[in-house]
Structures are given as structure tokens and as C-alpha cells.
Symmetry: C2
Subunit: 586 residues, 2 copies
């Protein structure tokens, strides 16, 4: 039984199961969403028009037994935020369930003629199209609760908040977590608006009785996943009670601050005096002190053995939100000059509920501050800004679109974006390699697209000087290619830490993919396969009109020195263009 | 005495007079602004950042005696609306006065460190930098009045309204008319925001005692301008009591409606049932009926012999606004489903006062209507929208940015823009040649960049079928090149009507330029010189990252049929790419 493509057309509410065509058969996850988008979406189409599509795909190993930390689902389409091809992936419950239904991908296309909102229910028996007037306008916490009440089987729920309904460019796609709550987001690039433009508020996925995933070579899969698991369990960053398990991703706050690379107050400094107050250590301290529902070492999907998530408690020990990530605490904290974790947590809740990417949302607040709408550090005003979005006031419509729209509305020209997407929590003037990734990734500014922070800061996969330009083009490309591969596996990107240092883990990852798919892939092929994916993505972008001039960091970083290193962005255009020079022959 | 470049740096409030360098010495008007912008503005700079510049240049014949209808001033820079190079030109008082001061161009660069607003006063004695706290925040009617009170010599006033101060992308640059009122606008492309980013609210230009314009060959100039004048006085469209003089540009309303090419209700139909009610004939009728200050056959600058402007009166005969143009009446009328000239006139006044381009403003209202904010045809609500802009409410900040920003805020995907600039009053699905101009002009969608309407509708310069694709690529290029030349002369583009039909007029235009400059230019060189300008502009855009994919009409026009002809946009990408194929070798 081959994997199926489930094609759902919202224009006539039809659903068709197609055998996966030969041209896509090797792909899963990001590789598959990008292949489908390249083949089926006209690159110059309007991202919110009837001809864009939302593609949802689990990874190669998703849904196979005991593959560690393999719960990622890829979402792809043309991005309303960037105009590029986009893949954004999320943890949560959806990946395994979609895979176990025998689906390689769900393609959501067309638009309802009546302007109604739909709820789709996908089971082994097919797709049910339900009117969802009761869900429309609701936040994701309520939506997830309603749907788990309706479907006691604890299905995956993929949904959009009010921001996605209004088709604003900072709309993410929520996937519910093991507790049935939102917070796992395919956040970046506004794909929630693409789902909204299809008229779909939520997709319920129940894999009960599904056929499961075909496995080509059980032994090879077992061998691979064991190697990978061992590496994860051994590495300092990912082992139980290791850095990520203890402090979450927010273990980085003090480290990046120390390195002078923590973007502060809309990228005007590289260190924040309040960093410690919003760090992972402080989160752990609050969890310890307040107790109750608070926890660290929380898992975002079943089968995760890293468990870097947390549940942030309020003073009474009741859960405020899961998860306060590093990127989130930085975006809503340091970058806004805010040093209060309780406010960061509350704003994170608002993002999860409204359906906003936290990175873009935090950057947006910082732009509102730079534009004189709010004072830097004014946490009350920052929090109140989410009320505007909830009310969909005109101001809320500005903020709901993210950084570039907000900058234009307030005449701000210090705009930390690449290809329309705002930068995450690493200052490229202080950490050059990640700047190369921001500049050249087909996704716009995105740390997860090629996380050179590993060798530049964490000493993982080697150790290089973050301030040095030398070799950073090659470094970024290698990381971008490896990432494209990992994003296709279904594994969480955090497996990269152990497998960069422990070669048997790297082999194990490849072997597990070969075991499931029967593809002739070894550890030696990972980079080349990743480059195939990048090539497809760059091809889409080229056809959409993107050029080398789009592979640049914002102008102000070229002339404004960043304290404390007092560095400008100094990589030459030639060095940036070198990253994808290998695609130019084709 | 050679022409000077006046370089004004707002960072240190310095002004330097430079001899015009050899590389620019042949250019004036648009040719000069584009040459300077290409040489001095980094194409990937932020349009509102410190490294963009505003260049102001009169034409070759500006300021010479008796050159007919030669009062155009070119404004150039990198556009905040489109991201392309931009030249936008205006009538009014400035052109001759700048030329008579011996200036080839004024380059406005830098940005004040203190965030203050300045008023610049340019006379034969130099530049005075005056703090202008009293002008900041004021509308252009008041600003123009204040400055004529301060300077009784009736100087030219170049200024920006509140929209330019806030650096919003639909900010135009106002030039006062012979009555000392705003209404002559370098409207398109948001150059008012570029002026605002320089901290300059207004520039007063007094040419009293200026050296005047050097003339290389008085006889040749005289010969040329006489031929040109004769052609203007002879042609049906431009002669006294001809079409333009009698009904203004708005003579087109009924004609374009009849042709099925009048974009109606955000480009959803090609005919408007209320066209006659907002036509030039109706304007003339109102002027006739109401009397008082109302007039047709009004001139926008001294020395104009076409006089296509008007002054629209209210019921008591008092002037509401000058001028209700065809584009304006269409944008604020037909495209919004509004058929009431009094409202159109009042909204035009608001645009002139606030500093908005009327075409972009009308399209913006139509998008707000499409997005469900206002009903199509609701003239009260449309007018009230300007209050939002005046108050700079969040909604006003959205609308003040123009069409694309408004569409994004309200999730609209039927967006009639090219390169970020909205289309003027001719439907490309019904009139193919103008669509080629919209798609391929370096300026974004702009009818004045290559007005193929002349042969397609008016039977000027030949007669071709508007619905036919054949030959439209070449036609558009020829018109774009001729326009680039005319935009450099200082002559109004409307001389094109007579000189397309009367070859001695075409020769006369070229001879007058040769007479002033001493350049070896004849009528045979016009297209080639125009193409040199286009080549510079395309080069800037290429360096800014624009590609063939940007030379496309919006997606919805490719799949949505336009009544009454029920045509889609049908020109192929290859036909569009053919227009500028000649630039690819270089």
C-alpha cells in the first residue's frame, strides 16, 4: 500500500485520495511540501487568492514505532508574509496521526464560494466537511477544548485563531499538544492566513483504525533509531537533565546575552540588562517556587525524549501557558526591553490564542516602540496591544500583519527583516554565520533554517568564532542543507545537536529514514538530499521574482554599529551570493 | 555659466553649489533625476532611511522664454510605495523658478538628527534653513497661504502634507499653482514621504534676480517652440476650445466608459452607470450653472497654452478645489461606485490638503469597500475616511499608505497594482496596450509612463484596436521612450497629442531642446534618448532586485473576466518580456 495524497478542494467541498505520484514518492515533510508547492502553486499567484494551496505533510519516520522525537508536521505554501515558498513545521499531535492514516500529504486548495467557515474531520473513513459557525471568531484555547469535547478520542487539531481568519500576515497554524492545548505552532510566514483563505478554521485528525505506516526494512529502522536515541541520550544538550531538558531552549538567554548577540530594543544593542530575569534558569526557578501545574522537561509531542518544553505557572501555580521558549522570551522580552516573565508568559498565551507567531509578534511590538507608539519596556502597554488584535481594531490589523506592515504604518526604517520576515533572537552583526542563514535561506530570516549558532556559540559540531566572517558562507549552506533533510524526517531539529557531535547518531538518522522508505540513503547523502530540497525552494522563489538582492540583511545593519562589539554587518554581497552559487547552473 | 547642482544636506543643514558634472550635463527633468538617483542612491537602501535622496529638476526648456506649456518639475528618488526608482512630475510654479536660478537640480539628502521640521528658502543668494514648527502638522492649503504671506514675491512652494510628515507611502509632493494653492502634485510613488524623511516640510523658491537659463542657440529654440506652439494650437485635442481646454482631461470619462475600459468598483467592471454624472461635460455644466469662481480652461502653470485645468465651484460659486482631473474623478468616483461630483471635489480637496495622490487614494477607498469596511457607493463614508487620515488614527495610517497596505490589512486579494503602485483609470483587460505599460514601466502601474490610450482610444498617433494584443509590446515601448523624453523637457505630456499627429510639432519639440542645450538632438533622436533614460531606470530597478516577474499584472486579472467585453488579461509573459529585451544585452 503506497502513501496517499489527500486532496481537499474547498471550492466544491470535495476530497480525493490519490496515489502519490512517482515524482513525489521519495519525499516527506518539508521535502514533500516544497515539491508539491513548486509543482502546483503558480509562483506569482496572490498568497491569499484562490490559487495558493496549503500542504500538510508528516515526515519520513512520523508514525513509525519508537522513532525518538519525531512528531513534527510540515506546513507549506506561498507565504503571505514573504511572498516566497514557505515551510514551517510544528510539534504537537498531528504528525503521527496523519502518517498513521496512510497519508503522505494533505493538499488544501480552492476557496468556499459562500464565505463560510469549515471544520474538516479526517478519519480512516474519509473527510467530513462541517460548517463551523460556532468556531469562527474564537481563540485557539476554546477551539481546541470544544473539539476535544466533540471528539473524545483526543484527535489532533490543526487550527487558526482570529488572526488567520482575517488573513493577516502574521497568522500561524496551531497544533494541539498532548494536553489538548494550542501552543505548538507552524508560526512563521503567515501560513495561518493561507489556511484562512481556504475557509478552514480547524482540521480534526483521528487516526483510529488507520492503516499505519509502511516500513520497508524493519531492522534497518530499528538500528537507525537506536543509534539516534543513544546519541540523544548521551549528548550534554539533549540527555535527560541536560541543558534543554532542564532549562528548555531558553537555556540560551544568558549565553547569547553573554556573547553580545542578544538583540535588544529592536536590534539596537546586543546585550540586555534584564536577560537573567527572562532566562530559562529563571523559568525553572519560577516553576520550582510556584509549583502546581508548572513544569520543565515537558514534551510537546508523544515520543519525545528530549522534552525541552515547559508549562509556565502563575503565582497560584496554575498553568499560564506552554511554552515559554527562548525565541518567545527574547521577542516579547529583551527585544521590547521587558524583563518580566509573567508578562512574557501572558503575551505568549495571547499569541497562542489569537494565532500569532511569537517571534514576529515580539518584533512587531518592538517596532511599535521604535515608532513611538509605546515606550520600550512598557509591559502593560505591550500586553494591551493584544487587545487591539483581539478586537480587530485598525491598530490590531496593523499589528496582526507583523513587522513590515507596522514599520510602514509608523514610518520606521530600522526594520530587522529579510524577505519580509523578521529576525529571530540572534544578532547577525555579532554572530555572522546566522546572518548568512537569515540572508540566504529561501524562507526569509529564520534561525531554524540553518542554525549555525551550534558551532558559533554552543560549540556543537565544531567551534568557530561568531565574529569571524571566514567560512561562514559554507557553514551556513551545510547547516541549511542538513536542516532541510531533518525537516523532512519528522524528527525535531534538536536532534541536530547530538548528531553533529556523535557520528553514529547522524548515521542512525539516515538509516531510520532508509529503513522506513527503502530509499538508498546513508549519512553521506544527507547534505545532498537537503540540497535537492533547497534547490526546489530556490527555484520557486526565482520564479516568484526573488534575486540575489533579496539575499541581503537590512540596510541599517550595514551602517549602524551594534554594541558591545560595535560591529556592523560586514559580510560582502559576494560572500552571500556564494552560498547558492551551486544552483545557478540549473 | 553652466547649470549648477544644489546639494542640500539635512544632516548638518549645509548647502553646496556644484558645477554639473560631465556625466549628467546632457540631462534635465526626468533624465537628470533618474541619472542622479542611479548614481547616488544605493538601490537596496530603505526608501525612508538616511541614504535615500530626493532630487528635484526642471526640464531642458523650463525657464526659457515662451516655451509653451513647459512648467513641469521632475521629482526623483527611490519610491517607498514601489521600491523602484521613481520620477513623478508636476505642474505649478516651481519649474521655471528653479531653472531661472541657474539650477539643473536640487539634491536633498541626509536627515536632521533632532527630528525637527525645516522650511528651506532658496533664492539667488543661497539656501536658508528655517525651523518650521509652525508649519508642521498643517495641511497644504494653510501652508501655501502662510508662505505667500511670509514671502510676498509669490514664490514657488514645494511642500508635503501631514501624510508626508508621517512618511506614509501614498504621500505626494505639492507644488503651488498660479493662485498660490496646492493641487499640482508629483503624486505617485510616495515621494512626499522621502521629502518627509529628510525633515523638510516646505521649500520656498524665489527666482528674483536669478541668472536665468543659458540658451545655446536662440534661433533654433525660437524655431522649435514656434513649430510646437503651432501644432498645439492646431490639434483638436489641445487647441483653444478643443477637447482638453473645454472639458479638461475629464473629457475622457464618457469615452473610456463607452469603450468598456472604465475600471469600476475596484476593477470589477469596465463600465460605470454613473459615468456621465462625473464626466468633464458635467464639470463644465456645473461651472456654467454655478458660476462664481468656477472655471474650465484654467492653466496650472504660467505659459500654458493648453489650459486643461478647472476650478470646481460649490453651490454658492465658491472654489472647492482645483483640479478635478479625469483620473481623480475616476478614482474617487467610478472606482468607488460614487457618482456625485460634489463629493469627488471635496475628496480631491482633502487629498490636496493632506498630501495624498488622488489615484492611489481613490483605489484605496475602493479596496476598503472591497474589504467590507464601506459599501461601494457610500460617498459619506468615503469622505469620512479622510478624517481618519487627518487625525492619523490607526485606520488613517492604513489608508495613508495606499492600496497594497490597505488590502493586506483587510485580507483583500483583488489588488490592482503593479510593483506596489495602483492602476489608473484604464482597464488593461479592455485596453491591452496600457496594460503593457502598467506591467513593464520602471515606475509601476502608471498611465503617464506610456500613454497608449492615444492610439488605442483617442485615434491619436494612429488607430489600433484596444482589445487586440498584436503589436502592443512595441507600441508601449515607443510610448514609454517618447514619454521619458517629454518628461525631461519640462513640457507637459499633453504636447504628445499634437506632436504625434503633426510631425513638425515633434521636430519642434526636439529643436527647442537642441536650441536651449546645444545638444545635437533632432526629432529622429527622441526615441533613442528616451530609451537611454529607460535603460538607467531599469538598471536601478534590476540592482534593487526587480525581475521579469515584477513586470506582470495582478493575478486576478488573468482569471477574472471583465464585463462588458468579458476579457481576461491575455498578453503572454513573453510579449511583456519583449518590451525591455533590448536592455538585457547590457
Amino acid at each position: 500500500m503506497s502513501r496517499k495524497i489527500l486532496r481537499i478542494n474547498m471550492s466544491d467541498q470535495s476530497a480525493v485520495y490519490e496515489d502519490i505520484p512517482e515524482k513525489w514518492s521519495k519525499w516527506a515533510g518539508r521535502g514533500l511540501t516544497s515539491a508539491i508547492v513548486l509543482d502546483e502553486v503558480e509562483p506569482t499567484c496572490h498568497p491569499l487568492g484562490p490559487n495558493n494551496k496549503l500542504v500538510i505533510a508528516p515526515g519520513w519516520v512520523s508514525g513509525t514505532p519508537a522513532a525518538p522525537s519525531s512528531g513534527r508536521t510540515s506546513f507549506g505554501g506561498k507565504s503571505p508574509l514573504t511572498g516566497t515558498i514557505k515551510e514551517s513545521n510544528s510539534g504537537g499531535l498531528s504528525s503521527k496521526k496523519i502518517a498513521k492514516l496512510g497519508l503522505a500529504a494533505i493538499i488544501l486548495e480552492g476557496e468556499p464560494q459562500n464565505g463560510e467557515w469549515y471544520q474538516l474531520v479526517i478519519t480512516k473513513d474519509g473527510v467530513e466537511f462541517k460548517d463551523a459557525p460556532d468556531l469562527a471568531g474564537k481563540g485557539m484555547y476554546e477551539v481546541d477544548e470544544i473539539l476535544w469535547d466533540q471528539y473524545p478520542n483526543k484527535p489532533a487539531v490543526i487550527g487558526i485563531g482570529p488572526v488567520g481568519e482575517k488573513k493577516l500576515s502574521n497568522a500561524g497554524i496551531s497544533v494541539n499538544d498532548p494536553e489538548g492545548k494550542p501552543g505548538r505552532y507552524a508560526g512563521r510566514g503567515g501560513l495561518g492566513a493561507v489556511m484562512g483563505a481556504r475557509g478552514v478554521k480547524a482540521i480534526v485528525v483521528d487516526d483510529e483504525g488507520g492503516p499505519g505506516v509502511d516500513i520497508a526494512d524493519e531492522d534497518l529502522l530499528k538500528q537507525g533509531r537506536t543509534k539516534l536515541r543513544d546519541a540523544i541520550m548521551e549528548h550534554d544538550l539533549t540527555k535527560p537533565d541536560g541543558g534543554l531538558n532542564t532549562y528548555g531552549t531558553n537555556v540560551l538567554m544568558n549565553i547569547i546575552n553573554e556573547a553580545g548577540g542578544l538583540p535588544t530594543r529592536n536590534f539596537s544593542a546586543g546585550q540586555f540588562e534584564g536577560a537573567a530575569d527572562i532566562s530559562g534558569e529563571r523559568v525553572a526557578e519560577m516553576v520550582e517556587k510556584r509549583g502546581g501545574e508548572g513544569m520543565t522537561g515537558h514534551g510537546c509531542h508523544p515520543g519525545c525524549i528530549i522534552q525541552c518544553s515547559n508549562i509556565y505557572p502563575d503565582e497560584e501555580g496554575e498553568a499560564v501557558v506552554s511554552v515559554v521558549e527562548y525565541e518567545t522570551a527574547w521577542a516579547l522580552g529583551a527585544n521590547c526591553g521587558i524583563d518580566d516573565l509573567d508578562y512574557v508568559a501572558e503575551m505568549t498565551y495571547q499569541c497562542n490564542d489569537l494565532g500569532l507567531d511569537t517571534i514576529e509578534a515580539g518584533n512587531t511590538i518592538a517596532i511599535a516602540m521604535e515608532g513611538g507608539q509605546i515606550e520600550f519596556g512598557d509591559k502593560e502597554a505591550a500586553l494591551a496591544l493584544f487587545d487591539e488584535i483581539r478586537e480587530m481594531s485598525p491598530l490590531g490589523r496593523i499589528y496582526g500583519q507583523g513587522v513590515e506592515a507596522t514599520a510602514k504604518a509608523f514610518g520606521v526604517h530600522r526594520v530587522p527583516t529579510v524577505k519580509g520576515q523578521s529576525m529571530p533572537a540572534y544578532e547577525p552583526r555579532a554572530i555572522k554565520g546566522i546572518g548568512v542563514t537569515y540572508a540566504t535561506s529561501p524562507m526569509g530570516a529564520d534561525h531554524t533554517a540553518g542554525y549555525t549558532i551550534a558551532p558559533e556559540i554552543a560549540g556543537v559540531g565544531g567551534k568557530v568564532d561568531p565574529l569571524d566572517e571566514e567560512g561562514k558562507s559554507d557553514l551556513s549552506l551545510t547547516f541549511q542543507a542538513a536542516t532541510a533533510f531533518v525537516d523532512s524526517t519528522g524528527y525535531c531539529l534538536f536532534i541536530a545537536f547530538p548528531i553533529l557531535d556523535i557520528s553514529s547518531g547522524w548515521e542512525g538518522m539516515a538509516e531510520s529514514v532508509a529503513g522506513v522508505t527503502g530509499l538508498d540513503i546513508t549519512g553521506d547523502d544527507v547534505i545532498d538530499v537537503g540540497k535537492e530540497i533547497l534547490r526546489m525552494e530556490r527555484e520557486f522563489n526565482k520564479k516568484a521574482g526573488f534575486t540575489a538582492q533579496d539575499d541581503r540583511l537590512p540596510e541599517f545593519m550595514r551602517y549602524e554599529k551594534l554594541p558591545p562589539h560595535n560591529e556592523v554587518w560586514s559580510m560582502s554581497d559576494e560572500e552571500l551570493d556564494q552560498v547558492y552559487a551551486w544552483t545557478n547552473g540549473k
